[in-house]
């Protein structure tokens, strides 16, 4: 810390008193101890993950030389060891986060290892998804008992793996509503993190994994109403973006704001995917079955997402001026209208492309206004990707496409160097 080096000089110059100097020294001493603890915890957790995964891999080899009895005993050895370490942690080290995290993570993997070993020994059938489901159900209490953020993250990964395995990677499995129950029992822990450990890195990872845990399985809910899938996604991206704009998340760094980034990139990616002609041509030919649509799960969650996003949007608008409103905030309202128009007419292709272009230009403007290179280049990226998409599917002449690319490329140079110059001048 440069401030610590300068303390002597500051006292001599009578800028600060000796008392203040001592307080500053104490503050930095406590801070460095804290960061030491954090490092120790990261290594503790990493160690437990690696050892746990190692045990599972060794078990997966399936040793022929060992008898059934030996294998069965070995199946329980890591689990019992883990539980003993866990008990020691709760009795003797209950205040120590490193011990709590590491022992909880170790038990998490030991449960998986023990189930795997028993399955092998007795050739127990059952696909990967039911294995994952039992494993996760047996382990979710660990996050509450040990207040372990890492187990919570592993659990979120596990239930997403489960839903992918059960729904997307298996043929013809029925919709699994169990997933939503699995997610619901994790949420109280997430709220605990938001309340008690808001600034920790673990919380930041949760801000990414929680929205992802809805994005990934969302399509399983709209099975009965495919027509709604894209609208449901767009309104959910809108909702994510609006949550990301709340003061609570806005105060931190952008990389910790999974809601904002996923909401924004999700909206843009979906629009990009729909900027192709073939999608809308297919949509017009598709026979829409509107019967029972009103009572389908897909419809209800679409309404729920849209209403929640609207409430947050209205709430946000009360606090800011009209000119500060961003175009991406409207997409989830405009999209269903475009989608319905698109079911009857190809005008929708133009509307989507214009929407992306508008968002791109206004994002660049915002970046320039806020003097933020990241936002500025994000806007330029949007326009570049739009042009690349159109390069492949439109009948524009090569000369015209070439000129477009040169213009956008030049745009990158000019805007970036203009902004850097502006910064130098101001700085």
């Amino acid at each position: 810390m440069s401030l610590q080096k300068d303390i002597g000089e500051l006292i001599n110059a009578e800028v600060i008193s000796k008392e203040t100097a001592n307080k500053i020294r104490e503050y930095y001493a406590a801070k460095s101890k804290n960061s030491g603890n954090r490092l120790f915890m990261i290594f503790g957790v990493l160690g437990a993950i690696l050892v746990g995964l190692g045990i599972i891999s060794i078990i997966a080899h399936n040793w022929d030389q060992l008898s059934r009895t030996v294998k069965t005993v070995l199946a329980f050895l890591p689990l019992i060891t883990g539980q003993l370490i866990g008990a020691f942690t709760l009795f003797k080290k209950s205040e120590n986060r490193t011990w709590a995290e590491a022992s909880a993570v170790f038990i998490f993997f030991a449960v998986g290892a023990s189930m795997a070993m028993v399955s092998q020994v007795y050739n127990i059938d059952g696909d990967l998804s039911s294995f994952l489901l039992t494993w996760m159900l047996l382990c979710f209490p660990l996050m509450y008992v040990f207040k372990s953020s890492m187990v919570s993250l592993l659990y979120l990964c596990g239930i997403n793996y489960y839903v992918c395995q059960h729904h997307y990677w298996s043929f013809n499995n029925p919709t699994s509503y169990i997933f939503w129950g699995l997610l619901a029992i994790e949420l109280p822990f997430y709220f605990f993190l938001l309340k008690k450990r808001a600034s920790s890195n673990f919380s930041s990872f949760h801000h990414w994994l929680i929205p992802l845990s809805i994005i990934i399985p969302l399509a399983t809910l709209t099975d009965s109403a495919e027509f709604l899938t894209l609208i449901a996604y767009m309104s959910f991206f809108g909702l994510l973006y609006m949550i990301g704009c709340l003061d609570f998340f806005r105060q931190g760094k952008i990389r910790n704001n999974g809601y904002l980034v996923l909401g924004s990139t999700g909206t843009i990616s979906l629009l990009m995917a729909l900027s192709y002609e073939w999608f809308w041509e297919d949509l017009i030919e598709y026979d829409h079955i509107f019967e029972n649509l009103l009572f389908s799960t897909g419809f209800l969650i679409t309404i729920l997402f849209t209403l929640s996003a609207l409430i947050l949007l209205a709430n946000g608008w009360r606090k800011k001026k009209i000119k500060d409103v961003k175009p991406i905030e409207f997409v989830f309202i405009l999209f269903p209208i475009i989608y319905i128009i698109g079911s009857y007419s190809l005008v929708a292709i133009w509307l989507v492309n214009l929407l992306i272009l508008g968002i791109g230009i206004l994002t660049i403007r915002e970046g320039a206004k806020l003097n933020h290179l990241g936002i500025l280049n994000y806007g330029l990226m949007i326009i570049t990707i739009l042009i690349i998409n159109r390069y492949f599917d439109s009948n524009l002449s090569f000369v015209f496409r070439g000129v477009l690319f040169i213009l956008v490329g030049a745009g990158f140079f000019v805007t970036n160097s203009w902004m850097l110059k502006k910064r130098k001048k101001n700085g």
Binding site: I56, L79, I80, L90, G112, S119, Q120, V121, D125, P141
Partner: protein
């Protein structure tokens, strides 16, 4: 009550459940192994991998569907109780399927329905495709692929047979062994390797 006491009680309960689930699997399978009745199911293996449980061979059984009366409607994943019998060749046969557990017979097996096809021209019988509960046979990592190759060789020769030895008790099953020509597949692979070396 003190918060710490509650946490410790919760931990003990969780630990017991974590131990109980795998242990109950072990105990129920040991029980079948001790006192179940043995059946031979004719099969052919293929070799996939599970990320946590390692290499196994999937067994495809010759007997994998039954006829049931048209009056029964089956949905995917539903539990079906299969009536078992032993054929003249000594291999197990699936006779028919019911929705309720048979009371008067011990020769039955609990399984799941894959799908059912109603066939009007077959005397009002529905063909039900079955997922048997013992389709995975776990093998040592290095041997699973060899097992599949060995089996392919056997299949070309109709004089040789491959089958699964399954113990069954009160509908629950345990896949005890997979055999080629009455020799356990692990042994069969070892014998084959020594033969190849001596050649």
């Amino acid at each position: 009550m003190d918060k710490k006491v509650i946490i410790i009680i919760a931990f003990v309960l969780v630990s017991l459940i974590q131990l109980y689930i795998p242990l109950s699997m072990v105990l129920s399978k040991e029980d079948i192994s001790e006192s179940g009745k043995s059946y031979k199911f004719k099969a052919e293996p293929i070799d996939p991998t599970d990320p946590f449980r390692g290499k196994y061979i999937t067994l495809r059984f010759n007997e994998r569907s039954v006829s049931t009366p048209d009056s029964l409607d089956w949905s995917k994943g539903e539990t079906i109780y299969l009536q078992l019998a032993e054929g003249e060749d000594g291999f197990a046969r699936l006779v028919t399927g019911t929705k309720e557990k048979p009371n008067n017979s011990s020769d039955f097996l609990k399984a799941k329905v894959r799908y059912a096809i109603k066939r009007n021209n077959h005397g009002g019988m529905t063909r039900v495709s079955i997922k048997l509960p013992f389709e995975r046979y776990y093998m040592e990592e290095s041997k699973a692929y060899d097992a599949e190759l060995a089996y392919r060789k056997v299949r070309r020769d109709t004089a040789q047979t491959a089958y699964a030895l399954v113990k069954i008790k009160e509908g629950e099953s345990l896949l005890n062994d997979f055999l080629i020509n009455d020799v356990s597949i692990e042994e069969y692979l070892e014998l084959n390797q020594t033969e190849e070396k001596s050649n």
